[in-house]
């Protein structure tokens, strides 16, 4: 029986789609059978991030409305043997689908796949309710900024209220140089504020932009972000993976400061 994971954030533009693409591709690289579902109806994006935009025939709404079978709408990613995408509809809106229909779809996919990843739209309206409807667990993506953290807190509350028992946090776009000089909250700060378990810290890495330009997820390659995303995928499988040292070397002064702080 497969597991349904929703990737959500509340705030837009913090990296839900990039995270879905990379974590999902990472799970496929780890020999799991994975389907990525873009639930953002009307604002389709996961297909371009995955580089599969030219292969869409049917979409999520077609499946829900019975215009095609699920298998016909699933796009097989030729680069990985176990990875599939169910794209969203671009010409419809979120009212085309109900939470009950999404729950049913997720149930049907469970038999076939190990992991079903739902890329959630921004906001807390119907699109959000659709995306979380069939989910067993959630990955909440945030950046170390007040607006994103505030929205993440709201989302975590709503996930609890909807009885999604396991919620993990991904802190995205961390800039260690700024954290070091005290101009950005650390992942520890964000975890302390949100009181939820961390599952990944992704550094702000320009390779993400390059990989999105090319439509090729960077998970697992030798970039920092690629390594960090692979670690998230491994932790989802239950592996105990140590966190990357995103800091590089530590200066003498910060070493002294952290020593003083402990006392």
């Amino acid at each position: 029986m497969g597991e349904v994971i929703v990737i959500t954030s509340g705030k837009g533009g913090v990296g839900k789609t990039t995270t879905t693409a990379n974590v999902g591709t990472g799970l496929a690289k780890l020999d799991k059978k994975v389907v990525l579902i873009d639930t953002d109806i009307g604002l389709r994006n996961l297909d371009v991030v995955m580089g599969l935009e030219n292969r869409i025939v049917y979409n999520l709404v077609d499946v829900i409305e019975g215009n095609c079978r699920i298998k016909q709408a699933l796009i097989k990613d030729k680069r990985y043997p176990n990875l599939y995408l169910l794209p969203s509809a671009q010409t419809r809106d979120k009212t085309a689908v109900t939470p009950e229909q999404m729950r049913k779809l997720a149930e049907e996919l469970r038999d076939e796949f190990d992991y079903i990843l739902m890329d959630c739209p921004a906001g807390i309206e119907q699109g959000f309710k659709n995306a979380i409807a069939g989910a067993d667990r959630a990955l909440v993506v945030t950046t170390p900024e007040v607006s994103a953290v505030r929205d993440a807190d709201r989302i975590i509350g709503l996930l609890e209220a909807n009885e999604i028992k396991r919620t993990h946090l991904i802190v995205n776009r961390l800039r260690t140089d700024m954290v070091k000089r005290g101009d950005m909250m650390s992942s520890g700060d964000v975890v302390e504020i949100l009181a939820v378990d961390l599952i990944g810290v992704i550094p702000d890495d320009e390779n993400i932009v390059i990989s999105t330009n090319q439509g090729e997820p960077l998970v697992g390659n030798d970039t920092l972000a690629g390594q960090a995303y692979m670690n998230v995928s491994r932790r989802i499988l239950g592996e105990d993976v140590p966190y990357l040292d995103l800091n590089g070397r530590q200066g003498l002064f910060s070493k002294l400061a952290s020593l003083l702080k402990k006392n």
């Binding site: 170390p144 505030r150 509350g157 209220a161 005290g182 504020i193 003083l260």
Partner: protein
Amino acid sequence: MMSLADFFKKKTSSNVAKDRLKLVLVSDRAGCSPEILEQIKNDIITAISRYIEIDMDGLDIKITQTESEGNNGSVPALFANIPIKDLKTNKK
């Protein structure tokens, strides 16, 4: 009291962000601002004290989340635990 470490610790912008977030999340989670909650609390105390002598130290009034009946997720609920010391009506 300020410790030596606090004295040397600059108020960095990340600390400002943390402090602001902690404050805003209290009222976000409660569904209302701390000032309004304090006013509600005082009004409840005033109203109840007219009839009942209450234990001010044991008083606990807060806003929590509760499941809504209409299945629209959770809604805020006022939770009040007010220990009674004495019913004034008993007194002559």
